[in-house]
C-alpha cells in the first residue's frame, strides 16, 4: 500500500516543502479576497460616514431648537417646522394606507395564493411598478388625483401616489418575511386544531415581525426621502404658518387636514436648492439635510425597538 501511494504521488522522492510554491497562488488569492471584501465593507461605511459627517459639519451652527421649531422667514435664517411637520404627516398618512394593504397583500401571496398565472402576473406587476421612475408615478398621481379627481395639490394625493410607489415593495417584503417562518410552526398550530387564519394571526405574523419591520423601514425611508413623486401631487409651495389648534381635518387650512398642500422636507430642499433666493438659502438646505438624515436614523432605530416590543408582546403572554 505504501509503495503504491508513493508511486502515485511523487516518484522523485523529494518531499514537498510546507513553504512550497504549489500553495502560494491559492494563498495569494485568499489574501486578495480578504482585502477586497474588507475594502468593500469599509467603502460602504466610509460613504455613509462621510455623508453624515459632511452634513453634520455643514449644519453646525445652523441646526438649533429654533431652526426645528420656527416658521420659515424671508429675512432671517428662520426654521423648517412646517415642512418637517409635513414630512412626518405624509409618512404617517402613507404608512396608514400602505402598511395594512401591503401586509394583507403579503399574507395573500405567502399563505393563500398558489403558483399560477394570477400570482405570476401580480409578481410581474410588483417588479414593474417598483422599477418605474418615481417622476412617472408623480405624473400619474398628478393626472389621476390632482386633475381628474379635482383634489388639487393635497397631502392625500401625495400619500396615495407614494402608496402606489411603495405598495409593491411592502407587499414583496411582507411576503418574504412570512415565507421565512418555518413550516414546522404552521404544522404545529394546525395540528392543534387552529384554523388557517388563527395560525396566520397568532403564529406566522408574530414570528415574521422582524422581517415585516424591515419592510416598514425601507418603505418609510422612501417616503421620507422621496421628492419626485410629491412634486406634482402634494405641492411645492412654501408652507403657510400652521395653526395647530385648528383640528378640523376637513378644513384645508388646518395642518391636520389631508386636503391641503403639504411640501415635505425633501421637496423643500429640492425647491430651495433649485430656485431659492434668500441669503440663508445654503444654510437652510444644509440644516434641512442634516435633519432629514437624523429623522431617518431615528425612525429606523425606533421601528426596530417597536418591532422588538411588538414581537415579545405577540408571542409571549
Amino acid at each position: 500500500m505504501t509503495a503504491n501511494a508513493g508511486s502515485i504521488g511523487r516518484s522523485s522522492g523529494a518531499k514537498p516543502s510546507l513553504k512550497g510554491k504549489a500553495s502560494r497562488g491559492s494563498i495569494l488569492a485568499d489574501r486578495a479576497a480578504t482585502v477586497v471584501l474588507w475594502g468593500t465593507g469599509a467603502l460602504v461605511l466610509l460613504i455613509l460616514g462621510s455623508i453624515i459627517l459632511h452634513f453634520a459639519m455643514a449644519a453646525w451652527g445652523v441646526v438649533s431648537l429654533s431652526f426645528i421649531l420656527d416658521n420659515p422667514s424671508q429675512t432671517t435664517l428662520g426654521g423648517i417646522m412646517p415642512v418637517l411637520w409635513n414630512s412626518i404627516y405624509m409618512l404617517a398618512l402613507t404608512m396608514l394606507i400602505a402598511v395594512p394593504v401591503g401586509l394583507l397583500g403579503g399574507i395573500y401571496m405567502a399563505e393563500y395564493a398558489g403558483d399560477n398565472i394570477v400570482t405570476g402576473a401580480i409578481r410581474f406587476a410588483e417588479e414593474s411598478i417598483s422599477s418605474v421612475p418615481s417622476i412617472v408615478v408623480g405624473l400619474f398621481g398628478l393626472i389621476l388625483f390632482v386633475d381628474d379627481f379635482h383634489w388639487g395639490f393635497t397631502a392625500l394625493a401625495g400619500a396615495l401616489a407614494l402608496t402606489f410607489f411603495n405598495l409593491p415593495l411592502m407587499t414583496r417584503l411582507s411576503e418574504q418575511a412570512l415565507r421565512a417562518v418555518p413550516q414546522d410552526e404552521r404544522s404545529a398550530s394546525l395540528a392543534l386544531g387552529a384554523t388557517k387564519w388563527q395560525t396566520i394571526r397568532h403564529v406566522v405574523v408574530p414570528l415574521a415581525i422582524p422581517g415585516l419591520i424591515t419592510g416598514v423601514i425601507l418603505t418609510a425611508g422612501r417616503v421620507f426621502g422621496e421628492a419626485a413623486v410629491l412634486l406634482f401631487t402634494a405641492g411645492i409651495g412654501t408652507p403657510p404658518h400652521y395653526n395647530f389648534m385648528n383640528l378640523d381635518i376637513t378644513n384645508p387650512t388646518s395642518p391636520w387636514s389631508p386636503f391641503r398642500p403639504a411640501t415635505t422636507l425633501s421637496v423643500y430642499i429640492y425647491k430651495l436648492n433649485s430656485e431659492g433666493l434668500g441669503a440663508f438659502k445654503n444654510q437652510i438646505v444644509d440644516g434641512s439635510a442634516a435633519i432629514l438624515i437624523s429623522m431617518v436614523l431615528i425612525f429606523n432605530l425606533g421601528a426596530r425597538f417597536v418591532g422588538r416590543v411588538l414581537s415579545r408582546k405577540l408571542t409571549a403572554s
Binding site: 404552521r186 394546525l190 395540528a191 392543534l192 387552529a194
Partner: protein, 287 residues
C-alpha cells in the same frame, strides 16, 4: 361533524384503572376499535407512497408503525389527522374511520378532527412563546379565555406530561425554546393534551433526543396509554418493542410504494412473525 362552541371543563380524561393487558386481543370487539383504515392508498402526484393499508387500532392502546425509511409510515400516520391535506398534490383514497366515522369525507371539519386527534412531531417544535402560552395555545384558539380555567388546564396538562415540576416556577417568563430537547418534546405533548384529544399521533417523537430523554418519553407514553389511543412511528425497534401493544410492519414494494406487511401483537411480531420479510427486518438483515 359540528365544531363544538363551548369548550368542555378543563378536566382531562380521568385515568381509569383498567385490568392489566396481559395479552392484547387483536380481534377486538367492534366497540373497542378507535381507528380503522380501509384500503388506504396515498399518492403524491403520480407516485404512490402508501398502497392499500387496512388495519384497526384499539381504544387506549399503543400501535407502533415500524419499517425502513420510505415505507410510508409517516405518510400513513398523517392521514389520521389529515395533515396530508397540507401537502400540494397529495391524495388519499380509502376510508379512515374514527369511532366509525370516515374522516376523509369532504364535510368533515379538519379543525375538529385535529382537536380529537393530536400530533407530536419528530423535531420538538414549541412555539417561541412562554411555556404557559405554548400549552394554552390550543384552548385559547378554541375560545377559552377564562384565566382560572386556563391556569388549571395548563397545570393539569404539564403534570400529565411529567414536566410540571421542572417548569412550574417560570411558566410565564421562560420561552418554550429555552428548554432542553427532551423537555421541549414533553412540552409539545402537554400542548397536545391541553386540547383534550382522544388519539395522539407521534411521528418519531424521540429520534432527536438523547437516551435518557427518550426513556422519559417512553415512560410517559405508557402512562398516557391509560387514557389515550396512541399511534407512534419509530425507527427504533427496541422502542416499538418496549412501548407498543400492537406493531405494524411496513416496507417498500418494487415500485417504491409502501405497504403493510403484517400487523399483530408486539410480542408476536418480535418473536415469531408470520412473514419472512418481517423477520428479516427485525433481525437486522435489511432496512
Amino acid at each position: 361533524m359540528p365544531i363544538t362552541a363551548v369548550y368542555p371543563e378543563p378536566v382531562l380524561r380521568r385515568v381509569e384503572v383498567t385490568a392489566p393487558r396481559a395479552a392484547v386481543q387483536v380481534a377486538a370487539r367492534p366497540a373497542d376499535i378507535k381507528i380503522a383504515t380501509e384500503h388506504v392508498s396515498i399518492s403524491y402526484g403520480d407516485k404512490v407512497a402508501v398502497r392499500d393499508v387496512s388495519l384497526t387500532v384499539q381504544d387506549r392502546s399503543i400501535l407502533a408503525l415500524i419499517g425502513p425509511s420510505g415505507s410510508g409510515k409517516s405518510t400513513f400516520l398523517r392521514c389520521f389527522n389529515r395533515m396530508n391535506d397540507l401537502i400540494p398534490g397529495a391524495s388519499v383514497k380509502g376510508e379512515v374511520c374514527l369511532d366509525g366515522e370516515n374522516v376523509m369525507e369532504a364535510d368533515v371539519s379538519v379543525v375538529e378532527l385535529r382537536r380529537r386527534v393530536g400530533m407530536v412531531f419528530q423535531r420538538p417544535n414549541p412555539f417561541p412563546m412562554s411555556i404557559y402560552e405554548n400549552v394554552a395555545y390550543g384552548p385559547r384558539r378554541r375560545g377559552l379565555n377564562d384565566r382560572r380555567k386556563l391556569n388549571d388546564l395548563v397545570e393539569t396538562s404539564l403534570k400529565r406530561a411529567a414536566l410540571w415540576d421542572e417548569v412550574k416556577d417560570d411558566l410565564r417568563r421562560k420561552s418554550g425554546l429555552a428548554l432542553s430537547g427532551g423537555q421541549q418534546q414533553r412540552l409539545c405533548i402537554a400542548r397536545v393534551l391541553a386540547t383534550d384529544p382522544e388519539v395522539i399521533l407521534m411521528d418519531e417523537p424521540a429520534s432527536a433526543l438523547d437516551p435518557v430523554s427518550t426513556l422519559r418519553i417512553e415512560e410517559l407514553m405508557r402512562e398516557l396509554r391509560e387514557a389515550y389511543t396512541i399511534v407512534i412511528v419509530t425507527h427504533n425497534m427496541q422502542q416499538a418493542a418496549r412501548v407498543s401493544d400492537v406493531t405494524a410492519f411496513f416496507t417498500m414494494a418494487d415500485d417504491r410504494a409502501g405497504y403493510l406487511v403484517e400487523v399483530g401483537p408486539t410480542g408476536q411480531i418480535f418473536t415469531r412473525p408470520s412473514e419472512q420479510l418481517t423477520e428479516d427486518y427485525i433481525s437486522g438483515r435489511f432496512g
